[in-house]
């Protein structure tokens, strides 16, 4: 074992501050990116779990949301004409105002509470359970079991339930926010709907999403009937050939649309999210802050730790070990501090993820992100080691002769 590694392991308490600083620098960046990507995943959960092998978007669209992604209706037969395509359906959607409906008893309870609060001179409301208004997204499925728009984790009975007129599905993470439970009636854009299905695993912390059948959307008067349709969900005969078929469709479309495989689109979705100005600035700033704090604390810790062993370093100098070799020892030491810091950051982030999961905040960490943050932390540690090199000048072997 090398001197640097042995020192780090034996005197780990001395290096703890540096490791913790690195861990928190890593957490600062990882947790934020993880959360943003997690939120992005929430938007695309339905796409990730769709039966579609290929999705067709308008040219230039990089993500299903946050930009014009639709295409002319006349493209549908063009996509259909590929011999391997079996189903094509537009992923229609809408959005509007959602209000919950309280039963007369609940309403009476709230009125009484409000009155009592007013008498007591306290402010009314506060406790939840009252009337709620939220803006919601709407996406559709075709209420046919196994159809291309139906997510893979929808059971037969869920699809049956959504086939009923004005039946909608809500994710369980959105129930509290919308003030409803399964079986409740509610008002969407002024029309009464029923919460018939509660899904799990479709969290969306920015805006709750309702899922309904294409027929319900049509009855609500919000279905696309014009010359443009939403992105197309395409099922092909052999999913393993998705990449090939997507390429062939793109050739056929000749720039009028772009066919994506599901994975391609999911990746593009998350990166489109990170390209977003505000998020980019926030992340950049966090990374900068993490770098600053990490370097400052790690540098000072390393300085102190090297200073504590300066006489031993000086004795190596006396025995003829060159300054360059001592510098290498310090750089190796900071490298190992970085590696341990990466491990600690991973552990902390995992704990935060558990906490977030308990609170219903989805987090997701793409492998590329983890690699970037790990490299980032090792760079912080090495930079700190580089800054600490000056302290080695104090290793004057002549000082040992006293």
């Amino acid at each position: 074992m090398s001197l640097a590694l042995a020192t780090l392991l034996y005197e780990w308490r001395r290096y703890m501050a540096a490791v913790v600083a690195l861990a928190f620098s890593g957490l600062l960046v990882l947790a934020q990116v993880g959360m943003f990507v997690g939120i992005g995943k929430g938007f695309t959960a339905q796409i990730d779990r769709a039966r579609a092998d290929i999705m067709v978007l308008g040219p230039g669209a990089k993500a299903l949301f946050g930009g014009p992604s639709g295409l002319p209706r006349r493209m549908i037969p063009l996509v259909y004409s590929h011999p391997e395509v079996t189903q094509v359906a537009p992923l229609d959607g809408s959005g509007g105002r959602f209000q919950n409906i309280l039963s007369p008893e609940e309403q009476a309870k709230i009125d009484a509470r409000t009155k009592a609060a007013a008498k007591g001179g306290r402010q009314a409301g506060g406790e939840g359970g009252g009337r709620k208004t939220e803006f919601v997204n709407v996406t559709v499925i075709d209420a046919i079991p196994g159809y291309v728009t139906v997510p893979t984790d929808y059971t037969q009975s869920m699809v049956e339930a959504l086939r009923q007129p004005y039946a909608v599905a809500v994710d369980q993470t959105a129930l509290k926010r919308l003030g409803v439970k399964k079986g409740d009636k509610a008002i969407y854009n002024g029309k009464t709907i029923t919460i018939a299905v509660v899904t799990t695993g479709y969290p969306n912390i920015i805006q709750p999403t309702l899922v309904m059948s294409r027929d319900t959307l049509r009855m609500l008067g919000e279905a696309d009937t014009g010359p443009r349709v939403a992105p197309l969900m395409v099922q092909i005969r052999d999913p393993a050939r998705a990449e090939i078929v997507a390429a062939q469709l793109n050739k056929k479309g000749d720039g009028k649309f772009r066919a994506w495989t599901r994975q391609e689109l999911a990746d593009a979705n998350s990166s489109a999210m990170l390209d977003d100005q505000i998020i980019g600035i926030m992340l950049g700033f966090s990374a900068f802050l993490g770098l600053l704090i990490g370097v400052a604390i790690t540098w000072q810790t390393l300085r102190g730790a090297i200073m504590a062993n300066i006489k031993e370093f000086a004795s190596l100098r006396a025995l003829g070990v060159s300054m360059g070799d001592l510098r290498n020892i310090v750089m190796e030491l900071s490298f190992w501090v970085g590696i341990v810091g990466v491990g600690a950051a991973g552990l902390l982030t995992w704990l935060v993820t558990l906490l977030a999961a308990a609170g219903g905040v989805p987090m997701y960490f793409p492998p590329s992100l983890i690699i970037i943050v790990a490299v980032f932390l090792v760079i912080i540690a090495m930079l700190s080691g580089f800054l600490s090199l000056g302290i080695l000048k104090n290793s004057q072997p002549a000082d040992l002769l006293r």
């Binding site: 042995a6 392991l9 004795s315 006396a318 025995l319 003829g320 006293r402």
Partner: protein
């Protein structure tokens, strides 16, 4: 371990002429070495004795390439003018030829006795297998065979100093500099340490230059140089006692 340098016994290993070293204290300069001439032979234990502040440690620092003198010339082994060499060359010279033993033992707390010795050998480009063998042999020669895997915190002061000696001897140096090697040790440990240094001179032909103010160590010396106030007072050749009185009382 082979004895590389015994054939050199009696030849001059190190000589210095007119060494002057001044230190700045405040606005005035203090002259610590005032034109010291010095020489040491292979196979000799040369004791440099004197009260504290006499300049004996500064002399050793100048002789060993650790502290550049303001005036004077040091010629050591094949280096005719040590201080005319570049810093890198002086480092290389120390790496190849010099062993150091300090009053404080200066061992890395994280390394076992064997690793302490091997670390230095590694920088001499000795392969791991050979380094391990030589470290083991060096530690056995100082009587620490059973304790090679102990860390400094598990060793007594005397044992730590013996590890430091093993670290110096494993390099097979021509020149061994020891600065107050026994003053932090009890009598018995001190005796073991000085005997090891004596043996390094007698058996290996190394030139041992030992700074001390402990008069009991004189018994082991071939030559005793008294230095005071930056000047050499006297320089006596003697025959080491065959059965020196024990250092412990």
């Amino acid at each position: 371990m082979s004895n590389d340098h015994s054939h050199l016994r009696g030849q001059s290993a190190l000589s210095a002429q007119g060494l002057v070293k001044r230190f700045k204290t405040g606005r005035t300069f203090v002259e610590v070495l005032k034109g010291v001439d010095f020489d040491a032979k292979h196979g000799d234990v040369t004791m440099v004795m004197g009260p504290s502040g006499s300049g004996k440690s500064t002399l050793v620092a100048a002789l060993s390439g650790l502290l550049e003198p303001d005036e004077g010339n040091v010629s050591a082994l094949e280096a005719k003018d040590l201080w005319s060499l570049s810093k890198g060359k002086i480092d290389k010279f120390r790496l190849d030829h010099c062993g150091f033993i300090f009053q404080g033992f200066n061992l890395f707390p994280a390394l076992t006795a064997k690793q302490q010795v091997m670390t230095v050998l590694k920088y001499q480009n000795v392969g791991p297998g050979e380094a391990s063998r030589r470290a083991q042999a060096a530690l056995e020669s100082v009587g620490l065979g059973p304790r090679v895997n102990q860390r400094p915190s598990e060793l007594s002061g005397g044992e730590k100093q013996r590890v430091a000696i093993a670290r110096a001897l494993a390099k097979n140096p021509n020149l061994i500099f020891a600065d107050e090697p026994t003053s932090a040790l009890d009598g018995k440990s001190g005796e073991i340490v000085i005997k090891l240094l004596r043996a390094a001179a007698t058996e290996r032909g190394a030139a041992v230059i030992c700074v001390t103010h402990d008069p009991r160590l004189e018994a082991y010396a071939d030559r005793v140089i008294h230095i005071e106030d930056g000047r050499i007072l006297d320089d006596v050749r003697r025959t080491p006692d065959a059965n020196p009185a024990p250092l412990s009382h």
